[in-house]
Amino acid sequence: MAEELVVHFEKLLTRVDGLLSAVVTDRDGVVLLRATAPNCTPPFTESALGCTFALASDQASKLGLKKNKSIVSVYGTYQLVQFNHSSLITTFVANSSANTGLLLELGSELESVTQVIATALHERQSGAL
């Protein structure tokens, strides 16, 4: 199942030009799933991505606009598109010229996939207790 998910994520990298990596982490930054484009070195530390988003998302949820769903951050040469999917965080790292709208749409599509992972994790934790 995990290998199928990795293959699914690797296929996603070909759907959007400029998409370099897709990572699913928990809120502590532990990487659950990773797919990276060939010959590409992501410019960010993947575990730090999850922690950064968790902090920022908690702050954003205090704006009075209810819960934060996603954050797009654009740097000089890269952009990060991150999603709050229950207890998991999905991060896309792409070139700054990549289509942000497509990346946002991709994240919405992946919500059902990350939901499966989150449910499995929750069941495992409940079983362990």
Partner: protein, 123 residues
């Protein structure tokens, strides 16, 4: 020097079509000028926006270039945060406003305010 009333009038021009607040703040989160429904809302938006901007700007390494833009999507609203000279510009909108128009308004305000704010940046 800057005319604070004029800056507020410029920011007011963006608060149409679902944009609830347009705020200019310094990186420490203090308000410089705003156009919003209440000053309490503006202060809250400013404090949180500067905090989130700081979190993400510290995250990047030197070789990826500085942070230039942030877009936040929440269940009942959207926020765009960008930098103008040494200050931060924040737009808060209802959920039915598209991110593209929010970004376009931010960029238009940035182009308009960049030159005058750069002149006072050294003070």
């Amino acid at each position: 020097m800057l005319k604070p009333k004029l800056i507020s009038q410029v920011l007011q021009q963006a608060t149409t079509g679902g944009v609830k607040a347009t705020i200019l703040l310094n990186p420490e989160g203090s308000l410089l000028a705003f156009a919003a429904q209440s000053d309490r809302d503006a202060r809250i938006y400013a404090a949180i926006a500067s905090n989130i901007w700081t979190i993400y700007s510290k995250h990047c390494k030197a070789d990826v270039g500085g942070l230039s833009f942030l877009m936040l999507e929440c269940e009942e609203g959207k926020v765009a945060i960008t930098v103008v000279s040494t200050m931060i510009l924040c737009l808060v909108a209802r959920d039915d406003v598209e991110l593209g128009i929010l970004k376009a308004k931010s960029e238009a305000l940035t182009r308009h305010l960049e030159e005058p704010l750069s002149k006072v940046a050294g003070y």
